[in-house]
């Protein structure tokens, strides 16, 4: 259902996350995951895994799936780079305790022992997913493999890139996109192609004295604009006191959504995958 927040509850997710439906994906391609997976999987005491599993089912499984393979809105943790890099909860713990407010994940106040059990459960699920060739447990969200995303036509994609898509007005296969297919593969490449969620637009703020401050947009609501300048310092102003302009380049991605056919997406993906 909802949330399920989406948003529904994804805010607890979801909320909103499903809400709500606000969380985004950090899924990795299996090829990439295989290349960083530890050679020998560590095993954990069964009681610890069991404890972690019970905790996971209660607080995490709606968004991340009962098997940690992804649920409604939360990413597949068995394909997560962060999980792969984690040692006994050193990376997982801070995410659990701080949440990911920008993606709709709330913080959970958990003891060291609870974090250790959660980490044991998640690593065990990751090991199981690797050993079963990525097959998922019943019920949860499934994985997307690099091989699933090979139905497009390179030539048609190049034509779309240079023509109807308007991509070449901002991007260049020999400039910013040179080697992009070596940096990202599979679903991660496709998600970044459709909309680069992590990209922070540039902003230019003109204050009352007439002085202009340029930087990377760090915060914006109806009332406050904040930026990070080239020194890494944060500045903010009341919107009523200044004039500001956010670089609209990212909007071009949003304007394309209603224009794309599914073939356009697959063809563009085929073309981008040639940029190694």
């Amino acid at each position: 259902m909802n949330f399920r927040q989406s948003a529904r509850d994804c805010s607890v997710l979801l909320t909103a996350v499903f809400f709500a439906g606000l969380a985004s994906s950090a899924a990795q391609s299996p090829a990439k995951q295989a290349s960083v997976a530890p050679p020998a999987a560590k095993s954990y005491p069964p009681e610890l895994v069991q404890q972690g599993g019970a905790l996971f089912r209660k607080d995490c499984s709606f968004c991340h799936g009962r098997d940690a393979g992804g649920g409604e809105s939360g990413p597949d943790l068995t394909r997560s780079k962060l999980v792969t890099a984690d040692v006994d909860g050193d990376k997982i713990g801070p995410v659990v305790r701080n949440g990911r407010p920008d993606k709709g994940m709330p913080p959970f106040d958990r003891t060291d022992q609870q974090i250790a059990s959660l980490a044991a459960f998640i690593h065990t699920q990751q090991n199981n997913a690797v050993s079963t060739g990525g097959r998922r447990g019943a019920g949860g969200r499934k994985g997307v493999d690099v091989s699933d995303l090979q139905t497009g036509n390179v030539e048609a994609g190049k034509k779309y890139f240079e023509g109807a898509g308007g991509c070449s007005s901002c991007h260049s296969p020999t400039g910013d996109l040179a080697g992009v297919a070596s940096r990202y593969q599979g679903l991660e490449l496709e998600e970044r192609m459709l909309y680069p969620k992590r990209a922070k637009p540039k902003v230019s703020v003109t204050v009352s004295s007439g002085q202009t401050v340029d930087g990377t947009l760090a915060y914006l609501d109806e009332f406050t604009v904040g930026l990070t300048d080239s020194d890494g310092s944060y500045h903010s102003w009341r919107i009523r006191d200044v004039k500001f302009k956010v670089d609209p380049a990212l909007n071009a991605h949003v304007e394309l959504f209603p224009k794309y056919s599914d073939d356009d997406v697959h063809n563009l993906m085929a073309y981008l995958q040639t940029l190694r």
């Binding site: 909802n2 927040q5 948003a7 607890v12 909103a16 209660k58 019943a138 019920g139 497009g152």
Partner: protein, 517 residues
């Protein structure tokens, strides 16, 4: 001397008697209060039975709302986000997170009692609040039990099983009390299970009837699903309750459930005394995108294209706004209220026609809206003053995948949201056109909407600002940063001649009012 003294005491007593109203005996939520809530109460999830979340209160206005200030805040000191809509009865507020209920003095915000019984089973994703019948509360626990408590002290009267948590059910909704029935719905999406609504006797906990939205699991070529996640509405004149049902399962793969998959993704009208289906209207035939139809079925009486109508309106998760004649379930209007690309058109009966080419596929399909939908569980409001349906909308795009290897159980595929934003939209119900819109930030806001007769729209943005908007044009009149995500719907009430607006964010409940002289 004595007589003077006596005279003084008599005078003082008279003054006190004039100044102090008689101490009212707590009435609880009796049938009259539920049917006709007073301005000093909010006795059900939606306030009244209509689901309009609109208040006749007029003390806080577009002209004075810029003076709105904090009356009190209550901190649950828990990490769970407040997703419930509080009840207010006899001056006491009741609200929840999973496994917890608080009873709070609505004047001061101080705690009267706290029920805190951790459960280990079932999803703990959220709880929408309690229901009240006379002096008793009803609370749906994550482990799919309905618990009845004494409102005075939070002591448990009884606890009954609503569904089998070991099969994959849980409960999160706020029950609906109609007459002597407590109506409870069930949650679940990761298993192929049937959804249902159950009527429970408020005195004994005995089951009175059960209405199943789908056939039992394992019935060949039939769907499962149709979970009843959210609180319905009620028309006492027609004696019908209106309820939205959830998506079918398997969720993203429809191959084992050919056809429309009744009664999933539907608005159903049931007799509350018997559970008998009066009519059903399916908003998403053969859904493959997880778009349940459990968003509030809002009941509005008024003119539609010049004719008086008893209407039902829903901004559905699938991206369409529906206006139905609630006496018979016939369509009056179907119109998209944001980007929607999954339908071939609208059929003669007002149902969107799903485009088979937009079902999830091995190489992905670009779909609007995303899985969270164009809106979700947070309440919309019908502004009776302006004739506008106001909703926290979520224009969004996503990619949906499904392949044979994903199987036919539970999710049975994968979907990833690509982009979304939040927009408060005021929809003209006669045409479906958007009269005004107000952007509330990237990703989307989790705030519900309340409107008032004075012309205010209360909601929130994606960054955690509470907002008061002018209902006539959507312009911001007041705001306050709350410091956390807003994932609940506001309420309002008047106590001692003072109007309060209640909003929550994160784990804190905030009460706002005009400054007292």
């Amino acid at each position: 001397m004595t007589s003077v003294r006596n005279g003084f005491f008599i005078a003082l007593t008279v003054v006190l008697a004039l100044a102090t109203p008689t101490i009212m005996r707590a009435q609880g939520a009796d049938e009259q209060l539920l049917l006709h809530p007073k301005s000093d109460s909010w006795p059900g999830y939606h306030g009244d039975y209509s689901g309009r979340r609109h208040s006749a209160l007029k003390q806080i206005t577009p002209q004075n709302v810029n003076n709105l200030s904090l009356a009190w805040a209550f901190q649950t000191n828990q990490s769970a986000l407040i997703k419930s809509s509080p009840l207010l009865v006899d001056g006491i507020l009741y609200f929840t997170v999973p496994d917890n209920i608080w009873a709070i003095d609505a004047r001061s915000g101080h705690q009267i009692w706290h029920y805190n019984k951790p459960t280990s089973e079932g999803e703990h994703i959220g709880n929408r609040g309690v229901a009240m019948y006379k002096g008793y509360l009803f609370f749906a626990a994550p482990d799919a039990h309905l618990i009845s408590l004494n409102a005075k002290d939070g002591s448990v009267r009884w606890k009954v099983t609503v569904a089998d948590v070991t099969k994959g059910y849980w409960t999160s909704m706020a029950p609906l009390v109609v007459g002597n029935h407590v109506l409870v719905g069930v949650s679940g999406d990761f298993d192929n299970l049937s959804g249902y609504i159950r009527a429970i006797d408020p005195e004994t906990g005995a089951t009175q009837w059960q209405w199943n939205s789908t056939p039992p699991a394992g019935t060949p070529n039939q769907t499962t699903g149709g979970m009843t996640w959210m609180t319905g509405t009620y028309d006492p004149d027609l004696n019908l309750v209106y309820w939205g049902t959830g998506n079918p399962t398997p969720v993203l793969n429809g191959s084992t459930r050919p056809g429309d998959d009744l009664y999933t993704c539907s608005i159903v009208a049931l007799n509350p005394d018997t559970g008998k289906l009066a009519w059903a209207f399916q908003v998403s035939p053969h859904d493959t995108h997880d778009w349940d139809a459990v968003e509030t079925p809002v009941l509005v009486d008024g003119g539609f294209h010049g004719e008086p109508k008893k209407m039902l309106m829903q901004t559905s998760r699938n991206g369409y706004f529906f206006v139905l004649d609630r006496t018979n379930g016939k369509s009056l209007l179907t119109a998209p209220y944001g980007p929607v690309n999954w339908a071939l058109g609208i059929d003669k009966e007002g149902h969107p026609i799903p485009n088979p080419a937009k079902e999830p596929a091995p190489d992905g399909r670009l779909i609007a809206p995303d899985e969270g939908g164009l809106t979700n569980y947070r309440s919309p409001s019908f502004d009776t003053k302006n004739g506008l349906f106001v909703v926290d909308a979520h224009p969004s795009w996503s990619v949906y995948f499904a392949k044979p290897a994903d199987g036919l159980y539970g999710w049975a595929g994968a979907d990833y949201d690509v982009w979304g934003k939040g927009v408060i939209e005021a929809i003209d119900y006669q045409t479906g056109k958007i009269r005004w819109s107000h952007e509330v930030g990237p990703g989307g806001s989790g705030a519900g909407v309340l409107t008032t007769d004075s012309g205010l729209t209360i909601t929130g943005d994606a960054m955690g600002n509470f907002l008061a908007l002018d209902s006539s044009d959507g312009k911001t009149l007041w705001h306050a940063g709350s410091g956390s995500q807003i994932v609940s719907s506001p309420i309002t009430y008047e106590l001692d001649g003072r109007q309060y607006i209640l909003t929550s964010s994160g784990s804190v409940m905030f009460a706002w009012a005009l400054p007292q002289s």
